[in-house]
Amino acid sequence: MIIEIAAQGGFGGIAAANLHKTIDVQDQPEQMRQDLCEAFEPDQLARLARQPCGDCADRLTYRITVTDDRRTRSFTLREAQIPPDMLDLIDQM
């Protein structure tokens, strides 16, 4: 499974300030691999994307693309829709 994350928006409005990461889950240590597979499970992402977003002043928007053997799926998630644990995981990636 390959996870690609691109952020945009934020207080600065500067594209270069935002992270852009691509990782292959298979290359990660066992624990990280498990955490990533759970957090970035496409149905889980789709569920998060449907949550109400609330206040968004200066917040980031994440474009998350997950590719596995069968297909590629993309989701747009507001920072406020992503649980803190998952944001920590993104910061660790």
């Binding site: 207080f11 600065g12 500067i14 109400p52 609330g54 803190p84």
Partner: protein, 366 residues
Amino acid sequence: MCFSLHCSHHHPVACIVPPYMLRVMALRGDPRTAEMARALLKQTEKLRDERAELNRGGLPPAHPISGAFATAAVSPAEGLCCPDRRIHDGQHKAALPGKLIRSEGDGPTGIPDADTAYDAAGQVFSLFAKEYGRNSLDGEGMPLVATVHHRRDYNNAFWNGTQMAYGTGDGKVFRTFLELSVIGHEMAHGVIQHSGGLIYENQSGALNESIADVFGSLALQRALGQEVHQADWLVGRGILGPGINGAALRSMKAPGTAYSDDLLGQDPQPWHMDHFVATSDDNGGVHINSGIPNHAFYLFCAYLGGRAWELPGRIWYRALQTLNNPMASFSDWADQTMDAAIELAGRGSIETVMLRRAWKLVGIAI
């Protein structure tokens, strides 16, 4: 509030019984009553979710903003002396608010970010309280909750509807977010939310951004005791990384000139409607097109001279309190500032003439 849709004929009680009473009925009522209460609670929950969904983009829960509200917010209230600051350490994690490290009245922590957040929150509170008669962000003395060290290498600061959060920056693009104009900007988002809100996309979103920049800059100018021509009118001065070619994040005096760098590119802010940027990025360019109303405010202040947080700040604040239009365009906002200027400075006054001239110079006729 109860919408007819949810006032079913089977459960007229849904319209009048508040949720806390329903919870008591669900616990203590006889089986039939308890079951009804549970059903109604579920409905209330659903309604709340739906409302939350409607209230996207910085728009607060719907409540009527009347003239009475505006007057109350503008005239000095009693017991308005003191902020209630609560600074937390996010410990580089995303969970908010994190660990409380400095409450109101506590001495410095020795953690620079936390102490700057504390001091700056006091400056911003003081601007709104002493100059505009507003008791905290909601006008009702709400605590000023802030988290520093939010996430890891996080290049952002934000207001999440209830609190401020500041990253440390990655040290490359940003070196910090703890700077008074930035902190004033984030806190002003709270004031805007509690003043009827401005939907955070396209022109209303760029107004939301611009008004946040205006009060952020005014908080800084007032703290430094600078008059219009002494101030640099920069937002986020010194927060860019050491290797970045730029003075600040935005310039209200000369939008589009704050930075010019190989990595960041050129500051994209326009100062005139002719260069309004149509984009779907950044919620429709909210951090880009804010340059236009930012520059109109700067021009107005420059024409008048003196202290920008006094009459110009009061006019912008009054316009925000009386706007009552979360979808306002730049033009709607310009009209509203004119109404406020007429109220505060008089019809036909030199101030109103200068205000009209300022808006005209950025391509907005009023």
